[in-house]
């Protein structure tokens, strides 16, 4: 359209009332809203033909709008504007599409989980709970048994995984940033950390199971085996994040410290790490939040327990994710799965709350100490 306005101009400034050449051939402002209304109505009509449903209605309306809107704009303003508005509509549609499942997941967990969030759920285990109790729960309304043992398992397994992976991850990152100086070893380690990032979580579980199976005999399942599996998953996250945080520490700080005659290791401990500590701590928190929700590696390493077990080195353990999984897949009472489902959703709610809290804490840590890293 811009080319047409250039070529056919009638002499400059002929009359003050003429329409601006700049707006010639533009769509009227009501066009898009009207197309929207038409799409909603036509969508409703079409949906009624097939069998009315809200989802179907929304789908038809969206499709009609996405086709007719850009076409109308394109006819009036030319294909460039049509394409531009098509992309704009698509971008907004994609955003809505992405938000729907999130809202649905959180809504589902809230609606199904809140009723189950009782004292029983938090403070009792599944020890001694059988299908018999679940079958009677239907009449009395109270569901016995809970996820206390799973919370205990989650806390202790995550604890051991953190204890093992954080030092290794931190030191590796320090080696990469402060010592390797671009050498082949540093490059190789970076490469293998990348490979480790790609290990599927179930494979990490298999590794831990295979390792302990070879040493302590087949089917060795304890919380510690699971912690080893989670460590394999956690190390690359910690390394990557710490590396990034160390690299944004300005070199001037290191040089200032060296110029004062301070040793390299003391420089790292006293200058570099304190400067980056908020980023590192926030990254570690996020890594914990990630592994705390892992399910697959625990299925193959930690076994399945119904009773409280604080000892990670002997006996089976259950964590919140595996608790959810088993309550859904193998309800305590196969004939009346509702109490099990209620426990599963309540556990899911607890798990989501823990994960969200960890994410929040990570953000708060990053924000609380942010000025230190901002001096870039």
């Amino acid at each position: 359209m811009s080319t047409s306005t250039q070529t056919s101009q009638p002499g400059p400034g002929v009359s003050p009332v003429r329409r601006s050449k700049l707006t010639r051939g533009q769509r009227p402002r009501w066009l898009v809203p009207v197309v929207g209304v038409v799409a909603v109505v036509a969508g409703a009509a079409l949906a009624a033909l097939v069998g009315f449903g809200i989802a179907l209605w929304a789908l038809f309306a969206a499709v009609i709008f996405l086709v007719v809107g850009p076409l109308a704009v394109g006819l009036i303003e030319g294909s460039r504007a049509g394409k531009d508005s098509l992309m704009t509509f698509l971008v907004y549609t994609a955003f809505v599409l992405a938000v729907i499942p999130l809202v649905s997941v959180i809504w589902t967990v809230l609606v199904n989980g809140v009723p189950g969030l009782t004292g029983n759920m938090l403070w009792t285990s599944m020890n001694g709970v059988t299908g018999l109790q679940d079958n009677t729960a239907g009449s009395s309304g109270e569901v016995v048994g809970g996820a206390y043992h799973a919370i205990v398992g989650t806390v202790s397994i995550t604890f051991w995984a953190t204890v093992m992976s954080v030092p290794v991850g931190l030191l590796t990152a320090i080696y990469l940033v402060e010592y390797s100086q671009g050498g082949w070893l540093g490059k190789a380690i970076t490469f293998f950390v990348d490979v480790m990032t790609g290990i599927p979580s179930i494979v990490a579980g298999l590794f831990a199971a295979a390792l302990f199976g070879m040493i302590f005999g087949p089917s060795t399942r304890t919380g510690f085996v699971a912690a080893v599996a989670l460590t394999v998953l956690m190390i690359p996250t910690v390394v990557k994040n710490t590396e990034e945080m160390l690299r944004i520490v300005p070199n001037e700080l290191r040089e200032a410290s060296y110029a004062l005659g301070v040793r390299k290791w003391r420089t790292i401990l006293k200058v570099v790490i304190p400067t980056a500590i908020s980023g590192i701590a926030s990254g570690v928190t996020l890594a914990i939040a990630r592994v705390i929700g892992e399910t697959a590696p625990l299925l193959v390493t930690a076994g399945f327990a119904t009773a409280i077990n604080w000892n990670s080195f002997s006996g089976w353990m259950t964590t919140l994710p595996t608790f959810i999984y088993y309550q859904i897949m193998n309800p305590t009472s196969p004939t009346n799965p509702d109490p099990s489902l209620q426990r599963a959703w309540a556990a899911a709610l607890i798990l989501i709350i823990i994960v969200m809290l960890l994410n929040l804490v990570a953000r708060l840590i990053a924000r609380a100490f942010a000025p230190k890293t901002a001096g870039r």
Binding site: S180, G198, L211, I352
Partner: protein, 315 residues
């Protein structure tokens, strides 16, 4: 930055105790780096050792009775089907959402939206699985029925459709939702790093918003988009819980709206707790295969990124 450090290697003066500290500290950090090698080597080694009996056992004793490769083949195919469905859905949506955050949404909205997408990534996979099995699968049953009735001539939609909705397509959709944040958050980061200069160059030529994105943002971000897709693929291939909970597994079939098919990861998770002996090493061998596939995907991703870097490295 590390080159400037190497120029001033400390340790020529100062006290002897400090020097020992230097040695200890650098040794420790080196050891940690080497431990990574050791762990990775151990992963490969132990999986290989434990998987070995599978390859030496007579074919008839393997599940399915026809040897390891005819056992693992359908699982590999199933894994690929699920991942491809997930990528087909998540790639366009993920990139468009990233564009929404970086170039379309008003500044006031884009930051919270970024948080929301990160939130999507933080939800544990078992919860997506539970949601997929109890909410999404039943909701999709009418669609599957309709597809099998009206598009049944396409092999993917051959009926009769599953009445629980626990099909490969559902599993693929759940996987797509799970990998969407990976694609979105990485692409968004790169989109917003597009040099302002290039965006302004396009706008000053009279480009529309989409043309500006096509001319300056997408070429700049292409390697990043590719690597985010590859990372998402790696995640989809290895994802266990979404499939284990959502898919009602069975033999390999083409139809995506019937129950059937299985992925490697879900096969392991479902069968490992009760497995022993040869079955155990079969599953570990399956895990090894999964490991190799994801390894290859990651390698390809890295190779692509390296190649693109050469091309756009002029600037």
């Amino acid at each position: 930055m590390s080159t400037t450090l190497s120029a001033r290697k400390p340790g020529t003066s100062s006290s002897a105790g400090g020097r020992a500290g230097d040695a200890v500290f650098s040794g420790l950090s080196l050891a940690a780096g080497i431990l990574i090698f050791a762990v990775l080597a151990a992963v490969a080694l132990f999986l290989l050792l434990q998987a070995l009996p599978t390859f030496t056992a007579p074919a008839a004793e393997i599940t399915g009775g026809a040897g390891f490769f005819s056992y693992i083949g359908p699982l590999v195919v199933g894994t690929l089907i699920a991942s491809v469905i997930a990528l087909l859905i998540a790639t366009p949506v993920g990139i468009l959402v990233a564009l929404y955050i970086s170039h379309y949404a008003p500044a006031r909205i884009s930051t919270p939206v970024g948080y929301v997408i990160d939130l999507l990534a933080a939800i544990p996979s078992v919860i997506y699985g539970a949601w997929g099995a109890t909410v999404l699968a039943p909701a999709l049953v009418p669609l599957y029925t309709w597809l099998s009735e009206h598009a049944g001539f396409i092999p993917f939609f051959t009926g009769p459709a599953s009445q629980t909705g626990k099909t490969m397509l559902t599993a693929g959709i759940v996987l797509a939702i799970m990998i969407l944040p990976i694609i979105t958050s990485m692409s968004r980061e790169i989109f917003s790093q597009t040099p302002k200069l290039h965006e302004e160059a396009a706008l000053a030529l009279g480009a529309t918003r989409w043309e500006m994105i096509r001319v300056s943002v997408l070429p700049f971000a292409r390697p990043g988009i590719v690597s985010s897709i590859m990372l998402a693929l790696g995640r989809a291939l290895g994802e266990t819980m979404a499939v284990a909970l959502v898919l009602s597994s069975g033999p390999m079939i083409a139809s995506l709206v019937k129950s059937g098919n299985q992925t490697i990861a879900a096969e392991i998770a479902l069968n490992f707790p009760e497995a022993y002996g040869l079955r155990l090493s079969e599953l570990i061998a399956a895990g090894l295969v999964l490991f190799l596939i994801t390894l290859v995907v990651n390698m390809i991703a890295r190779a692509i990124i390296a190649r693109y870097k050469e091309f756009s490295g002029a600037n």
